[in-house]
Each structure stands twice: as C-alpha cells, then as structure tokens.
C-alpha cells in the first residue's frame, strides 16, 4: 500500500483565509520534505524537517515522527499560493529514496 497519504486531495481557499494540509505515514520516516509545484511544472522545496516545526513567512510545517504525520499550515492565503503541494517521506526501508504523496491541489480565489 501507499506509504504516504496526503489530505485533502483538493482544497479551495478564499484569499486571506488559512488552512492546513496533512501527510500521514504508514511507516516510520526519518524526515519529511514539502514541495509546491508551480504553474511551470517545477517542484520548489518548501521545508525539510527531521523533527519539530519550521516557519517561513505565511507557511509553517510540523513533523511528529512518533505519531507518523506532518502538517503544512498556510496562513492568510494569497493567489500565488495556488498550486499542487507534495510531501515526501524518507523511510529507512527505501534506502536513500524519497517516497512522495499523491499531492494536494490548492486553489486560492478572490
């Protein structure tokens, strides 16, 4: 089965509102990375976490390795936040290879 499950699969946010994306892991992972795929198709790295929380502007991510989940909070959503967000796990069983979730499509509207 899938080792990384993202939710929701799609999300619409009114500009200025806030929400959270979630990544559940079915197996132990050493770390998590979050990416946003922009309109050109490139994935941009947002966060790398081995534990705890990190914050960058209106984005904040948390990783609980014991409870097997990670979250990405988006505060005061802006139009440019629209895109597809991926989390990627680093389970020991996969060697050095990241395992990606299926993505959350975020649309921010006026």
């Amino acid at each position: 089965g899938d080792q990384v499950e993202q939710s929701p699969s799609a999300l619409s946010l009114h500009e200025g509102t806030s929400s959270a994306l979630r990544c559940n892991f079915t197996t132990t992972t050493r770390s998590v990375q979050w990416f946003r795929q922009n309109s050109r198709g490139s994935l941009i790295n947002l966060f790398y976490l081995a534990s705890g929380t990190k914050e960058n502007g209106r984005l904040k991510s948390a990783f609980d390795s014991k409870e097997l989940y990670s979250t990405l909070h988006i505060r005061d959503a802006q139009l440019e936040d629209s895109g597809t967000y991926f989390c990627a796990a680093d389970p020991p069983s996969s060697g050095q290879k990241l395992v990606f979730g299926q993505g959350t499509i975020l649309k921010v509207y006026l």
Binding site: G41, Y48, D90
Partner: protein
Amino acid sequence: GGIITQTPKFLIGQEGQKLTLKCQQNFNHDTMYWYRQDSGKGLRLIYYSITENDLQKGDLSEGYDASREKKSSFSLTVTSAQKNEMAVFLCASSLTGGSAETLYFGSGTRLTVL
C-alpha cells in the same frame, strides 16, 4: 543559483516508438533523478544516478532505460511507448544524493502517446 533544463517540454509519440527525454543541470550536483508524475498518483522514481556513468533502478524502471553521459546530463528513454499513455516526466538533482538534501526539479516533459 543553478537551473535544471528539460527538453523537450512536450513530446508526442506513436505507440511502440522509442522516445528520449533529456535533462541538463548546472548545479554541479552528483546525483540526478527521473520521476514520473501521473494525475492523482504523486511522483514515482524511475531511475537515478549518483555519479557519471552510474545507474540505479527506481520503483518504476521497467519499460525505461537511462544514461548518465556526463555529470551534468541525464537522459531517459521510453523503450516502447504505450498507447494512450500520458504523464509528466520530471528530472531532479541533489548535491550528493542524501535523503536529507534538497531536490531541485526541472519543469518537466509532458508525454502524450497517440
């Protein structure tokens, strides 16, 4: 900063055709990757390479070949395109290949097979 360049951006092929996708990076990174992105399925690793002339199979290597001709370039070949196949192929690189390192991605090649 560096950049990853994938060519072509769009590729249309016929069933059974052999198709090659190219990727160049100027980060001077050791490790390069090819991922396949299907709608609703996230990214799946096809091949990766930790240095020039090295090749490592990912989870989805069947039906593909790859070649790391030099440190800066990594090409992927679809050995026999499948009819109605549609996917985006993403190339990425990282400094040495450690799972804690940031991956840098290209903009992708969108494949359509008629």
